[in-house]
């Protein structure tokens, strides 16, 4: 026994132990939080846009939770830079799993997509496509 975990390849562990862009932005264009109740994971994504108001200039995150959720948010904070809000909106679960580069078991998908969902909901609230009263916090569930 003990084949080592496919889900925890070096890249995931590296981002979990040394998260990139960790911290809060002082002047984000938008900031949003979310939770995955099944794991108790929390993520806040802070996003600053370029002057065109559409291109993502910088992303930081804070959070607490399992390695999958935190590594995913960390990798996403690098991946999103230079993308447009439309491109962010188009990111799907498969894209996030591809980014992580490992097979994610079905029960852990909500962990993997939490950061992405938080960023997407934050962007939609920013552009007026979501009502912040109704979507005060993003929830991902199994």
């Amino acid at each position: 026994m003990g084949m080592g975990s496919d889900m925890y390849r070096q890249q995931i562990l590296d981002h979990y132990k040394s998260p990139r862009n960790y911290g809060e932005l002082e002047d984000p264009d938008f900031s949003h939080t979310g939770e995955n109740p099944s794991c108790g994971d929390t993520i806040q994504m802070d996003v600053r846009l370029e002057d065109d108001g559409e291109t993502i200039e910088y992303v930081s995150f804070t959070g607490d939770g399992c390695a999958i959720s935190q590594a995913s948010a960390s990798m996403l904070s690098e991946r999103l830079v230079g993308m447009s809000l439309d491109e962010l909106e188009a990111l799907e679960t498969d894209d996030i799993v591809d980014m992580l580069g490992v097979t994610i078991s079905p029960m852990r998908i909500p962990c993997a997509v939490l950061g992405n969902q938080v960023a997407k909901d934050g962007a939609k609230i920013h552009t007026g496509d979501l009502d912040p009263e109704e979507y005060g916090e993003t929830i991902t569930e199994e």
Partner: protein, 425 residues
């Protein structure tokens, strides 16, 4: 050390009755059952969630469906009579198992949660009013906590929580403070599914009775793992589930004292629970059928009978001894590392489960890695979210043991935990 002679029960013989224990895992999970890519022998340590099922219990289900499948209580033909007798005798078997006075006190439900809801609706919603209190504990399963929380909201009654001390035991001074003349119901778990604490349910039931309140005991983790005598406890209500004690899913039990059940209105209306019906009025069947509306869980009830036969053949004292042996062994093994926090009382004073966390490894990551070692445990809040908030942990990993588990399987758990620790170091 781990020789067969050193167990209180014949684990090797028991394991042969459970085909799933021969399973290998590790492959594709999108299709159920063992596939070619499943290569690792299963180590099943998630028994507090659900137990595995022996051939004898599956045989009872097969015998019913292949031999005398019929609806109960409404046919004069032979199959219906056979099914009715077997289904009714299952109530007698359960009554004897927990020392109830008779089948009148044994209502079959879907599970512990439904048993809880039955009393909450049929008694709580009718009886509770502003000024009344329901006393429960910080270590309740959501089945009890959420149910009383919502019933109290609807009735205006107040819900109070007996605190859990640092060792994971109930603060009995606090219990004495909370249980007062306003108290109508004291509802508590017998064995905690998270802490492994064995609560003094008889003592607390006495405290409830002194102020004229009822007691409701959630025995979901107790009845499968130790002898339970509802009369010795003097419980007014006692609930448990079949699937945690070798039975099938879909069958639960509500024990209630006969005079109390008689005083309560039905919870579900419909066929089977009535005696006489006109367009205007209905009267109710005798206990326990008054509370079993519609076609009941016939196969499941009969299978529960078989599960109890199996457990009593081993002897509940022996089952308890085996649980305690494995719990203490796991507690000691896991405690060898300083970075492990185990919740609840010491290893020599707990039910057969160990919930824990390792520094720096989230419980869900731990559970995923253990799965790669073919070790099945539960990770999460175990339906005790408020207790986890109190413990300061979002989640925990929980290994829970049953009659077919061995010390070698606990060793496999510890080896897998070591592997997770190394991976995250």
């Amino acid at each position: 050390m781990s020789t067969q002679e050193s167990y209180p029960i014949d684990v090797e013989a028991i394991r042969e009755d459970f085909p799933v224990l021969d399973r290998k895992v590790g492959g594709d999970v999108t299709t159920p059952g063992e596939g070619d890519d499943d290569t690792e022998p299963l180590v099943y340590l998630d028994n507090a969630a659900t137990s595995q099922t022996p051939k004898q219990v599956v045989d009872a289900i097969v015998d019913y469906y292949y031999g005398y499948n019929a609806n109960v209580h409404r046919g004069i033909h032979q199959l219906s009579q056979e099914a009715s007798v077997a289904y009714e005798e299952a109530h007698d078997r359960v009554a004897a198992f927990i020392n109830a006075a008779g089948r009148e006190e044994i209502v079959f439900t879907k599970n512990t949660t439904e048993s809880m809801n039955l009393v909450a609706y049929a008694w709580g919603l009718e009886e509770l009013e502003p000024g009344d209190t329901v006393v429960t504990t910080q270590m309740e399963h959501h089945a009890s906590l959420v149910t009383w929380q919502q019933i109290c909201k609807r009735t205006g009654a107040e819900l109070r929580f007996i605190e859990v001390d640092e060792d994971g035991r109930l603060d009995m001074d606090h219990a004495a403070e909370l249980i007062d003349d306003s108290t109508r119901m004291v509802s508590l778990v017998h064995v905690s599914n998270t802490l492994g604490t064995i609560n003094p349910v008889a003592e607390i039931t006495d405290m409830a009775h002194e102020v004229g309140a009822y007691s409701f005991i959630d025995g979901a983790q107790a009845v499968p793992t130790r002898p339970v005598d509802v009369q010795a406890i003097d419980a007014d209500f006692y609930a448990f589930s079949g699937h945690k004690m070798l039975g099938p899913t879909g069958i639960g039990v509500l024990y209630g004292k006969q005079e109390i059940l008689e005083s309560m209105q039905p919870y579900l209306y419909g066929g089977d629970m009535i005696r006489k019906v006109t367009y205007e009025e209905s009267t109710w069947e005798d206990l326990p059928w008054k509370f079993e509306a519609g076609t009941p869980l016939i196969a499941q009830g009969i299978a529960l009978h078989a599960a109890i036969d199996y457990l009593e053949e081993i002897g509940m004292d022996n089952v308890q001894a085996h649980e305690e042996l494995l719990a203490e062994y796991a507690y000691d093994k896991l405690s060898e590392h300083d970075d492990v926090e185990i919740y609840g009382p010491p290893g020599d004073d707990r039910g057969g489960l160990v919930a824990f966390n390792i520094d720096g490894v989230h419980a869900h990551d731990l559970s995923s890695i253990l799965n790669d070692y073919a070790v099945a445990i539960r990770a999460g809040d175990h339906c005790t979210q408020p207790l986890h908030d109190t413990l300061g942990a979002a989640a925990s990993a929980r290994a829970s043991f049953y009659i077919y588990n061995t010390r070698e399987e606990v060793d496999a758990l510890v080896e897998a935990v070591d592997g997770a620790r190394d991976l995250f170091a």
